[in-house]
């Protein structure tokens, strides 16, 4: 989605949060090689940046400072409006999601070109206020997740599954933990009945937290 951004002062570092490298490989081979893609089997970034879903993004300036803390990477919170009967999104919902994505991509392009002059950067106080707080439970969930991944890679899947169940309880808001450690459909998606029941169970909570950016639809 960012294929047209070409600028030597700017780069995209895309990270696949996939315990299974082979599951991720076809995706990366299908897209442009203009940006670097890394693989994060242990979801280290979830732990470092307090991430809980994909896509999530962080804007980092030339000096290594965060100018937009972790946020939804261009997706609009339309998941609850998914229509199983289609299956898919009604045209007006899809249009709204496409508009949100386009606004986000335009903002990234503007930053890529204009750097500090971009209107989308937060000052340090604004940025700090937008950093999500990590709890002891979340930190423990990430530690257990890494332990579970190690055991799973070493032929101890049953033990790992028991640990993953604890992770899901410790950090119930993490879709990264839930989807990585849950059953997959035939197409490799963790989007079976249980997933949709969980989405429904969100109530007023968002699946994709609305991006704090001018003009962003709800």
């Amino acid at each position: 989605m960012f294929e047209t951004i070409k600028n030597e002062d700017f780069m995209i570092l895309s990270v696949a949060m996939d315990a299974d490298i082979e599951a991720a490989r076809p995706w990366i081979e299908a897209v442009s090689h203009d940006f670097i893609t890394l693989i994060d089997q242990n979801h280290l970034l979830s732990s470092l940046y307090n991430m809980f879903n994909v896509p999530q993004a962080v804007w980092i300036d030339e000096t290594g400072r965060v100018v937009r803390p972790v946020e939804t990477g261009g997706s609009l919170d339309v998941v609850k409006e998914y229509d199983q009967a289609i299956p898919g999104y009604k045209p007006e919902v899809a249009e709204r999601a496409a508009r949100a994505k386009s606004i986000y991509i335009q903002a990234v392009k503007d930053w890529a070109v204009n750097g500090k002059a971009s209107p989308h950067l937060f000052n340090p106080v604004e940025a700090r206020n937008r950093v999500p707080a990590m709890t002891t439970e979340i930190a423990t969930a990430h530690a257990k997740f890494q332990l579970g991944q190690y055991l799973k890679r070493n032929g101890r899947a049953d033990e790992a599954d028991a640990i993953f169940a604890e992770c899901r309880e410790l950090h119930p808001d993490s879709w990264n933990i839930y989807r990585e450690t849950s059953g997959r459909t035939a197409t490799g998606l963790a989007a079976g009945e249980e997933f949709w029941a969980r989405v429904k169970g969100l109530g007023d909570k968002q699946y994709y937290v609305t991006i704090d950016m001018e003009g962003m639809p709800n």
Partner: protein, 140 residues
């Protein structure tokens, strides 16, 4: 032997040198502790760089015995997650929420090193001097 994991390392070492222990404790030799965690015993306590955690008064032998260090007890004392497999043969020494929050609020982007699909390692800090859009995705 025990396997000791940190967020960035995996080491197989001799556990509990010279001591019988319960499955709830991870005792390592001073040299293994230093090699794996960077922490070591000093007169001030359990230390790394300019940080030191004093050994609780009157409880020294719960934390240190001869050359061995109860790493799990120090980890808990510091409020960091320490988790293990059922058989206590694999341990993970995690990073605490406070440390994470301090790092995130500093707005210094936490550095990391991860492989690409050809197994070449890249660090975020390799790209200093460029604006970086760090963005995640997944196949699932």
């Amino acid at each position: 032997m025990v396997t000791v994991l940190t967020e960035t390392s995996a080491d197989e070492v001799a556990g509990s040198p010279g001591e019988s222990h319960s499955n709830d404790e991870l005792w390592l030799s001073a040299s293994d502790t230093a090699a794996i965690t960077g922490w070591s015993m000093k007169p001030e306590g359990f230390c790394k760089d300019d940080m030191c955690v004093p050994t609780p008064l009157g409880e020294a032998d719960k934390f240190v015995k001869d050359d061995a260090i109860n790493v799990s007890a120090f980890w808990e004392l510091m409020g960091r997650p320490v988790v293990r497999s059922e058989a206590a043969d694999v341990w993970l020494l995690g990073e605490g929420a406070n440390l994470r929050n301090d790092a995130l609020v500093s707005l210094e982007a936490p550095d990391f090193t991860l492989p690409d699909f050809d197994d070449n390692l890249h660090s975020l800090s390799d790209f200093r001097g460029k604006r970086v859009l760090l963005i995640t995705w997944a196949s699932w």
